[in-house]
């Protein structure tokens, strides 16, 4: 019994240890290489780090539920882009012209609704056809991306609304709007997963689906709700990000699923479902963003970031496997 608890503790703690290591490493390496005259652990730098973590981080919370539930969602990047287009485009729709700045909540709602709808489509297909979520979302990753292109061809969709930009750039208690959204989402999803019946059922389904079915949990609608949640969060992430940037390219959000899954796996969520923690995912998101920033700080370019992230993902997988080994008594199959 002790061993199980200890390894759980190690795994929960590992991500924070890793973050600490990154902080020390980049501070020291940055000072030695003296490529930048600013310290790595500068307050502004760290605040920006949180803000930059938000787009990926918000969606990663949804992915945590999906993966705990035993599924995966590869379509989040495309959902993100499509919701961004709906947001920016609807701001300029003539029918809303009379609303003035009241168009903002309307556009937000439209974008969020789009996200929920796209998630619901994925969820409904998974539920009703019984096709594996990997294939369903692999398909909709292409399909939703196609819709993104169909909206405005290969042209970017742009609209800057200054009220929105001001809102997005506000710092409340020192933290940016995006950071507040990330924290709020983390808190809500943490509450959902640890305190509510829906959240506990998500664990039960991911851990032992047949048992959940036998216990009368309605697995289909449950999974559909989770896909709607991740769709909503992908939309929310788009809303937060594009309120400020004001321009979306049809290729935006590509490879997001890679970063997000990496963050969730780094946070220790089990690939087969049933185990994982929202707080650890938060750690995983920070760790990735730190890595990107840190590598930039010591003068490495984006190519190195890709290389390092990929290798770290594999290394974590390997470590996780070693931690779970039963030693010499394991069957060699």
């Amino acid at each position: 019994m002790q061993a199980g608890t200890l390894s759980t503790f190690l795994k929960r703690g590992a991500i924070w240890g890793f973050i600490l290591f990154e902080l020390i490493f980049f501070s020291v390496a940055g000072a030695f290489l003296s490529l930048s005259d600013k310290a790595f652990m500068d307050l502004d730098n760290m605040l920006r780090l949180f803000k930059q973590s938000a787009p990926i981080g918000i969606i990663a919370m949804g992915m945590t539920i999906i993966m705990i539930n035993g599924n995966i969602d590869l379509s989040v990047g495309a959902t993100f882009a499509l919701c961004a287009i709906v947001l920016l485009d609807s701001l300029t729709w003539p029918i809303f012209a009379g609303l003035g700045d009241w168009v903002i909540p309307v556009s937000w709602a439209l974008a969020l609704l789009t996200g929920v709808l796209l998630g619901a489509i994925n969820g409904l297909i998974v539920w009703k056809t019984g096709v594996d979520a990997f294939i369903v979302t692999l398909g909709s990753m292409l399909g939703y991306r196609g819709l993104v292109f169909m909206y405005n061809g290969e042209q970017p969709t742009s609209h800057l609304n200054w009220t929105l930009v001001d809102f997005a750039e506000t710092q409340f208690l020192g933290l940016h709007t995006a950071t507040w959204f990330l924290l709020a989402v983390t808190l809500v999803i943490w509450f959902l997963m640890t305190r509510t019946i829906h959240g506990r059922n998500a664990y039960a389904i991911g851990d032992n689906r047949e048992a959940a079915v036998n216990a009368g949990i309605r697995v289909g609608p449950h999974m559909m709700i989770n896909f709607m949640i991740i769709g909503f969060l992908a939309a929310l992430s788009a809303v937060v990000f594009y309120s400020e940037s004001g321009s979306v390219n049809p290729n935006d959000g590509e490879l997001y699923e890679l970063w997000i899954i990496t963050a969730v796996v780094l946070g220790g969520t089990k690939l087969t479902g049933g185990a994982g923690s929202v707080i650890s995912t938060f750690g995983g998101v920070l760790a990735i963003q730190l890595l990107r920033k840190g590598l930039g700080h010591i003068g490495a370019d984006t190519s190195t970031v890709n290389l390092v992230i990929g290798l770290i993902l594999i290394a974590v997988l390997y470590l996780d496997r070693q931690l779970n080994r039963k030693g010499a008594e394991e069957l060699k199959i």
Binding site: I125, W127, K128, T129, G130, V131, D132, F134, I135, V136, L138, G139, S140, M141, L142, G143, Y144, R145, G146, L147, V148, F149, M150, G153, V213, R218, V219, G220, E254, L255, L258, I261, T262, V265, L271, D301, T302, S303, T304, V305, N306, L307, V308, I309, G310, L311, I312, L313, I314, L317, Y318, R321, I333
Partner: protein
């Protein structure tokens, strides 16, 4: 027992269903634009499908052995960039084997991680997708690669040449498909691939060295990717770093469309070729009737879901999933 016999018939019908849908597409496209069935057009479709097709052959091995390979796209970018770069440095005769060796090393690494270390192939190849992309960018310094003297080299023969009146890419695709098809269907190795994918534990209990089989499948996949990179480089004689980006999904789509199960143990090279051609013709048909390339994404989405759905519906005997 009769239950399964019945579902075999159902499976056959489901497969036919996809072919019927495909036939409807073909007829529709032909009516919309008679050029669709023009021999030149058909040749063009096969030719432009060749690169995707070659990659799909390798991924078929990986999928039948019960694993995934999401790294083939970025690996293809790598091969293309490397062979273009080495072409000007070493000349084509040395550049090609050097590129194959480097790509096979990457395949061996993945094979080692998935086969011998038994790590989850989805995550390993997702990680490799990113890592190899980074490697390519580092290698090229982020710049596009071009062959300096495009006229003074025979390198273009793979992508642009003809042999016996057939474009070389098609010839290579057909030869490789025939070779790998025979390996998979007729040799002891092929048999082991099916056994490992069908039930890896039982394969181990039958004395099959599972790790070695998985390793070899990834090598095969890397070999196909290197061939695809060669075709791509030779066709365009210059390339961006991201030329293969996203191809892993199209490749997987073709393999699934061909009817291979992602759970492993089923699929054939022939079916994959059919899947590749279906994707190619649909894409071409949509372009010919004047639709943009991205409409194809949406159509592919619908087709993949329908194909897999009909397949599993036939196996379980009901159209709708019994999940409450």
């Amino acid at each position: 027992m009769a239950q399964l016999t019945k579902s075999d018939i159902g499976g056959f019908l489901a497969r036919q269903g996809i072919l019927v849908a495909f036939a409807v597409f073909i007829i529709g496209f032909t009516l919309a634009n008679p050029r669709f069935l023009d021999p030149d057009n058909i040749m063009g479709v096969i030719r432009s499908s060749a690169i995707l097709g070659v990659m799909a052959l390798g991924v078929t091995f990986v999928v039948i052995s019960g694993n995934l390979d999401l790294s083939v796209g970025s690996m293809m970018s790598f091969s293309t960039i490397v062979v273009l770069d080495l072409h000007d440095k070493l000349g084509p005769t040395l550049a090609i084997p050097a590129m194959f060796a480097m790509t096979l090393c990457l395949g061996a690494l993945i094979g080692f991680l998935v086969g011998y270390l038994k790590l989850n192939s989805l995550i390993v190849t997702l990680g490799m997708l990113s890592a190899i992309h980074g490697l390519t960018l580092t290698y090229s310094g982020g710049k596009n690669m071009d062959i300096a003297d495009k006229e003074g080299t025979w390198f273009s023969v793979f992508g642009q040449g003809d042999a016996l009146g057939i474009p070389v890419p098609i010839l290579l695709f057909v030869l490789l498909a025939a070779f790998l098809g025979i390996v998979l269907a007729k040799t002891p190795f092929g048999r082991k691939v099916y056994a490992v994918g069908g039930n890896g534990v039982a394969a181990t209990f039958s004395g099959i060295r599972r790790a070695r089989v998985v390793f070899t499948c990834y090598l095969a996949s890397a070999f196909c990717v290197a061939t695809a990179g060669l075709l791509q480089a030779s066709r365009s004689m210059g390339s961006q770093n991201t030329v293969g980006q996203g191809l892993e999904l199209e490749v997987l789509a073709a393999v699934i469309l061909g009817g291979a199960s992602l759970l492993g143990g089923s699929g054939t090279i022939f079916k994959t070729v059919i899947g590749v051609l279906m994707l190619g013709f649909i894409q071409n048909g949509l372009l010919l009737v004047g639709l943009q390339f991205y409409v194809q994404y949406v159509v592919t989405w619908v087709i993949i879901i329908l194909a897999v759905w009909l397949d599993i519906a036939a196996k379980r005997g009901t159209l709708w999933s019994p999940i409450a």
